[in-house]
Structure formats: C-alpha cells, structure tokens
C-alpha cells in the first residue's frame, strides 16, 4: 500500500507527497515459467517506478501479444495488453493524447521485429517520449517455439525442425539505421544491476528509448543462453562518463569492458554489429532529437470557447447569408 508521508511543510510537488513501495507496483502474480528472463525485467521496472516515484495511476504499460506482453498484468499501474505487433502505435496514441502520462512499452522479438517491424522503424522515427523494452528471447514463446527474426541460424524450432534458415536479425543495427534515433541500449536479463541502470537511463532520456533486453526462455531454448552466462567474458560492458559506470564488484566479474561514447553513431553501429561478445550498455544517445508530441501538439487547449471561435471562422469562409440573396434574379 502507498504510504502517505505528507510532509509537514506541505510540499507543493505532488511527487513529494507520497512515497511508493515496490508492492504498489506489483499486480497479478507473474505466470511466466520458472527462470524466465521476463521476471528480471519486471523487477527492474518495478524498482524504477519506486525509485523514480512514479504515480501508479499516471503510469501506463502498453504491450502487444506474447509471453512478454503479459507484463502489464503484473504491474499495478494502468496497462494496455493489446494486439500482436501493435504495442508501439497504441502507446504513441496514449502518449499523444496524454503527454503527462509516463508510458512504457513491452514487446517481444516477434511482436516488435516481425509483425510490428514497420511500427518499430516508425516509432524510432517519431521519437516520442516512450521507454521501450524489447524482450528478446530469440523465439516465439507464447505460441510454443517458432523461429523469430532474432532466432540464431540453425536453431531447431517447430517451424524449422531442421534448423532455422536465416542469420538472426540484429535489432540494434536496424534501430541505429533510423535517422531520428535518439536512444539505443542493450541489456541482458541475468545482470540485474546493469539492467536496472540501463532502464533508469532509458527512462530519464527524453525521447524514444529503445532497450533490447536479451531475455532467457528456459522453456523453449534452455541451452541458448548458457554460454554467455557461463563465461562472463562473452558479455562486453560499455562504459563512459556520459554513459554507464560500473561498480568495482561488477567489474571484477565482468572484465570485458569497452569505453564507448554514446554520442558516436558510427561507432555505435559497429559495436552493435558484434554478436560475440555481446555489448551491454548504452550504444547511442542523442538528447537533442525533438519529440513528435512536442512538434505536433499545439499549445491550444481543446475548450468549447476555442472550438466555437475556430468553427465560426471556418464557417464564415463558406457562408452565404440571407442578405447575400437580397436581390432576386431577373
């Protein structure tokens, strides 16, 4: 329950009025498989909400369809569990209508990179102030193990019983190919500390922050993520004064680190191309890309008075007044 610790000085800022606890964000009991990486993402999101003091009723998690898209049900905020592939346009609509709401998006590798690919490209282009979690488990989870665009080549699945045919799509390089891109990061579910740091940086970035989270699916791909988890050197942490900094303890475990300036797009694309080791951290950030909602929304309020005035001005252009026909035709 929310603890109302009203300050005696009557702080004006609404956000200071109440403090929220983790359980204020905990919705239904997650129904993901044991060991499913989605649990770690949920924990990071709930911690973020708490730490940033997000009001549950002003926060919306929007998703598509898939295991990962069950996410909103497990939050105690507002949620929208929509249709397959359309999480991003729904979220854009929410944000455009109500810019004061904090909007997150949960989408899967099928949801985002397959059926939703057009929306993905264009969401990056619109650069609305949304935080996007791409839960990339490299498989179709909910529909029981079909290859997704990010499934590594050769993977046996129910639609590719002799191994999948194509190189995996790299969501990072595609995202970084979009002109308007403003924030791209990569995280892995099994380093919660870094996952949280990235989520926080993404949330604090104004614009569309796109986080690809490599997410384990023990149900269908029990062995896929093993090598990375066994060998910390297969993960390369990206650090920078303008990016993330890692604790000493973490650095002892993850020795493979690279200094990367998130403002360097060309370099970001190069790093993003690496499949082994996988880069983890902020690949690109440009705080100067304007947000679509700011460009599109006028400062006018939709009041009846204004509406009447504008309508009347428009009607005037098309009006024929009775006096106009004072003189009858011969």
């Amino acid at each position: 329950m929310a603890m109302n610790i009203m300050s005696t000085t009557g702080c004006l800022l609404e956000m200071c009025d109440e403090r929220f606890e983790l359980e204020d964000y905990q919705g239904g009991v997650p129904r993901w498989c044991t060991g499913c990486g989605d649990n770690a993402i949920l924990a990071a999101a709930q911690r973020l909400c708490r730490d940033e003091g997000l009001r549950p009723e002003k926060t919306v998690f929007v998703s598509g369809i898939g295991c990962s898209s069950r996410f909103p049900h497990y939050m105690k905020t507002y949620g929208f569990h929509g249709i397959h592939g359309r999480a991003l346009p729904v979220a854009e609509g929410v944000k455009m209508a109500r810019p004061e709401l904090t909007v997150f998006v949960n989408t899967g590798d099928g949801d985002c990179c397959s059926i939703g690919a057009a929306h993905w490209i264009h969401a990056v282009r619109y650069n609305m102030n949304l935080t996007v979690f791409l839960h990339d488990n490299k498989i179709y989870g909910l529909t029981k193990k079909q290859a997704s665009p990010t499934t590594p080549i050769g993977t046996k699945s129910n639609t590719t019983p002799r191994g999948s045919y194509l190189e995996a799509l790299n969501p990072l390089t595609v995202t970084l190919g979009v002109q308007n891109v403003s924030f791209v990061a990569q995280a892995v579910d099994w380093i919660p500390e870094v996952l949280f740091d990235i989520v926080k940086a993404a949330y604090r970035h104004k614009g569309l922050s796109f986080i690809r989270i490599v997410q384990r699916c023990p149900e269908w791909l029990p062995d896929m993520f093993e090598p990375w988890m066994r060998d910390p050197d297969k993960v390369q942490l990206l650090h920078h004064d303008d990016g993330l900094q890692f604790s000493a303890s973490l650095s002892r475990l993850y020795k493979n680190q690279l200094r990367h300036d998130p403002s360097d797009l060309n370099r970001a694309r190069e790093i993003a191309s690496s499949l082994e080791p996988i880069p983890v951290g902020i690949l690109y950030r440009n705080p100067d890309v304007p947000c679509y909602e700011d460009l599109l929304r006028s400062d006018k309020l939709r009041t009846p008075e204004l509406t009447r005035a504008v309508l009347d001005a428009e009607f005037d252009k098309y009006t024929i007044r009775p006096q106009g026909s004072e003189k009858m035709q011969a």
Partner: protein, 632 residues
Amino acid sequence: MSIPNSLDIPRSKARPPARKAAVKLKEHIVEIISDSGEGAQKCGQLLGAIAAHTGNGIWTTEIIPAEIRPPARSVAGASGNRIRIGSGRITNGGEETDLVVAFNEQVLLGRLRAKELKPNCTILLESIWRTHVDPKIAASYIEVHDRLVAAGYNVHEVPMEQECRAVVADARRGKNMFALGMLCHIYSLEMRLAADQIALAFGKKDQSVVDANVKLLQAGYKWAQTNLDFCYSIPAARPTEPQIVVNGNTALALGVVASGMEICAMYPITPATSASHYLSEIFSKVGGVLHQAEDEISACAFAVGASYAGKCAVTITSGPGFSLKQEAIGLAVMGEIPLVVVNVQRGGPSTGLPTKMEQGDLMAAIFGSHGDAPKVVMAPGTIEECFYSIITARKIAETFNMVVVVLSDAGLATSQQSFPRPQFSETWMAPPVDQSPVPDGAKPYDWDDATGLARRFVPGRPGGMHTLTGLAHDRDSHVAYDAEINEQSLRARSLKLAALQKTLKAPPVYGDRKGDLLVIGWGSTKGAIEEAVGTMRADGHKVSSLHLQFLQPLPSGIKEIMQGFKKVMTVESNWSDRPQDGIIDETNRRYSSLAILLRSRYLVDIDCWSEVKGQPIKPGTIRRVMSEKLKQ
C-alpha cells in the same frame, strides 16, 4: 463513339445574335471541363458559389481524371466540375448535363462516351483547335465538331483563348475566368457577386491577379452577350437563414472539430484524404492533432490508444484501409474503447476505382472483424449529415464505449451543397477527461445486466488501475478463459447495441405511409431517391421512400412502415446479381447489402436494384427502376 442521332435541333451558328429575353428555368446542369491544370475546377467552384450566393440551390460534382497528369487533350483526361443549379433545394447531382463548356473536343468526347451529356445539350467549345498548326489536331477538332453538330448537339464555337489574349498575356491560364464570365451572362448572374467571389478566391495572391481575373470575367460576359442567342434565369428562393456551402469531406472535418475530438490518425487514401488535408490546416487551432501514421493499422491502433487514454479519437480511411483496420477495430470492440472510424467508400473490391463512388463496404463495416464484434454503423445521406454524423458518432461512441463506423462515400466527399450554417453547441463536445478517484470496489467492466453498459476508467484516475486486454476477461479486466465469463462479456457487448437501438426511431417516410412501392436506401443516394420519388408521386404514382442513417442497429418501426406497401425494394450502389442473368435464381442470387440485412431481419421479400458504375445513381434511373417494379 456513341453520338445519338436526333437531328432536329436548331443550330445557333446559322442565326445572327438577336436581342434575347432570359428563358426562365427551374434548374440546369452545367459542366466546365478541360485538361487538368487548365482551371475548369476553379471555374466550376466559383459558378457554384455565385449561384449559391444568389440564393439558388446547388450541387457540385467534381470531374476527376483517373491519372495524376493525364496527357493533354485526352479522352480519359477530363477534369472539371459539374454544377446543378436550381430554384429550390438541390439534393443530388441530377441527370445528364444541359450545357457544357469544353476547352477541347477530346475531353468532351470522354464525357459523351460516359453518357453524361443530354442528347441535345448546349456545347460551348473552344475553337482555337480549328486552326491548330498540327494538322492532325485541327482535323480531329473539325471531325468531332461536325459529328456533334450532325448528331444534334447545340454547338457554339467560342474563340476563348483568342479573346483572352486581348486581356492577359497567358491566355491559356485565363480561359477559365472567361468561361465563368460567359456563364454569368448565360445564367443572368450578378457580376458584382462574381467579382466578390473572385476576390475571395484569389485574395491571398496580390490585387493584380484579382484584377486580371475580373477583366477576363467581364470579357467572357461581354462575348456571350454579343454572340450568343440565348440566356436563362433560374429564379432563386431566398434562404431565410445563413447557409454554408462545403463538400462532404470538409463537412466531415468540420464535424471532427465540432465533436470535440482531439486526435485524428490517418494514412493517405483517396477519396478520404482531403478531409485530413483540411484537418491538417485547421485542427491545431483548436488544440487538435492530425497524425499521419505509417499505415492504416498503425493509424487505427494510435486512435485506439488515444481513445483508451481518455480522448475519443477518430481514424479516417477508405475501403482498402478499412480492411486493414479490421483487427484493431476488433480490439476496440473487445476493450470497449470508444472509437470513431470514418470510411469514405470508393469502388471496390481491392484497389478498385479509387476516385469513384460506391456503397460497397456496408457488410464489411458490420461483419468485417473476426468473432462477434458488435459496433454501430451509420451513414450520412447529405453533406449536412456528414457534419452532424461525426458529432453523433463521437457521442454514441463515448456513451456506449463502442466503435462507431461512419460510412460516407466518394459521391459525398467531393460534392458541394448548401445547408443551414450550424450553430455550435457545447453539448457537442465531451466533458473533460475524468480524473477523479475511482470509487472503492468499482470494477472496470461492471457490465449492467440489462443494458450491458459498463463504466470506464481512464489512466490518471487514482484507484482505477487495471490492464485492458483484448483477451477474454472478467469484470476486473483479468484474463479469463472461463466459459460463463466469456458468454457474459459477449452478451454485454451485444446488449449495448440493443440499448442504443431502443433510443432510435425509424426515420420519417418520404411520401405517404401507404402505397404500392417503398424504396429503401441508405447513405449518399438519399437526394436522388427522394427526388425520384417526388417526381413519381407528382405523376400520380403511389411510391414512397425510407432512408436509413443507422444500419446497425436498425431502428425499430421499419417493419410497420414496410407493411404499408405492396412492394419493397432497396436501391443501392453495391453489387447484386441481376435476376435476368440465366444462371441466377432465387437459390443463388446475391442481394445487395441493405437488402440482405432487411430480408434477414424482417423476412419480407425485399427486392433490390443496384448499380455499380462508379457514379452516383441518377434520379431518372431510379424513376425508371421504380416504374418497372410497379409494373411487375
């Protein structure tokens, strides 16, 4: 070529111009056609505006070539406008054309082949081609001219470009105002009004442009006065209240502004797009947002998101886009999210006839989404209804938390008509988004047992937090696969339609409530059907018509109305098999859309007649159909 052979029409060229008395007419249909880019559109619009300001009823129809830029002087390239001017209210485009101003003989041929000109109509034909340097062009002109004359058309050659040259340098671009001048004389329209309209139209440019155009106007007037042996007047009935003259798409856009909706998401598609063009001009002035999405699915999902967030949104499209939106529409139905979907229908199926009129999407609007997805479907029958239907649609959408589909069509989209200037009312708009805390224990889907209605918690309301889902769900909005819960929620969503239906009354019968034949229609055919019924009645036939604005749910009272007639039929612009085709019989005939709905509901043997020519159905055609039906 299909030039009729009636020959006994006096030709003007034989006679010297005489002093004329204006012949009084009840109405006339005038066309101005040119290659695209020559300004016939503008000329027609202005003629319509002048007539409307005079107090005449008008109906203008755009003549749009199929290509962006068809070759000059091509049969398929006619671009222009057709204006029906009448003494009283005009509700549709009427029959064939009485008088046409053509900038070359080829575009004229196109109209002839389309059978759009009356057999003996008056033709004012640019004569510059007669002496064209290209002998092929000159020969073509002379050949067509002579055949037209031989076929009985009342052809007047007009040296438009030559006359214009005396007034302006770029004579080719001035022709349209010269033509307007001629028409002002022919229809005894006031030059002051014409000059005013020109000033309004070109006012944004500098005064010299206005002046040049007025000069051309006067030159045309003068020429007609001097050279033509006829002129008309169409007495105008003085309107008692201010009118506005707009086309259907402008009316839709104004309706969006008036309805208080704040977000319109769209993807360009003909013939819907011009409504968005207009909105993109004005919507931001009232704090509205026009979002051009990457596709129709995204546009619809965006609108769903905005509506969910508390700002009932609209998405505007045409047939192909409507098909694409079906899944997202189903989500709105399932989530009980208010949503207005406008479909400005065009010829189908598939890409079909993008610029042409058809009413082919009614069944897709009602039944298009998978599963049981009850939604409201309504169709404006006039330009005025285009405006008001959006306001109504928004209100129904938010009252019942339903999807409302508004079916306009290419006929209404680009046609202009005058109607009483709307008086804005605050009740058109929704109240501000409710941000009050949700009462304890309230559920997001607290379906009322009698009406299926539930309240709705929009984000921002403390205590209302829940996750909306497109999966089957219970009153808490929790995913539920339970058999009973599934039936409960299907029932609730369906009952809402019945609840709305209880508030709807059958529209008034046009004509008597008893008779030999009742014609039922919907959408843009309203004016033509009622005009046809009116003339038939004037001729003593016992016919009436009923025009439906709500197609789902159907208002009550229709059965009782039908019982007053010996025969009932629908008239629509969507396909129905012709009973006269050998292979067609009662076991396989595919009826037109409204006929299917009415037959199914009322078990009455309702016949249908339909035409799918990409053109509005003409009153005369409907008259013929009714006569035949009466004889059967």
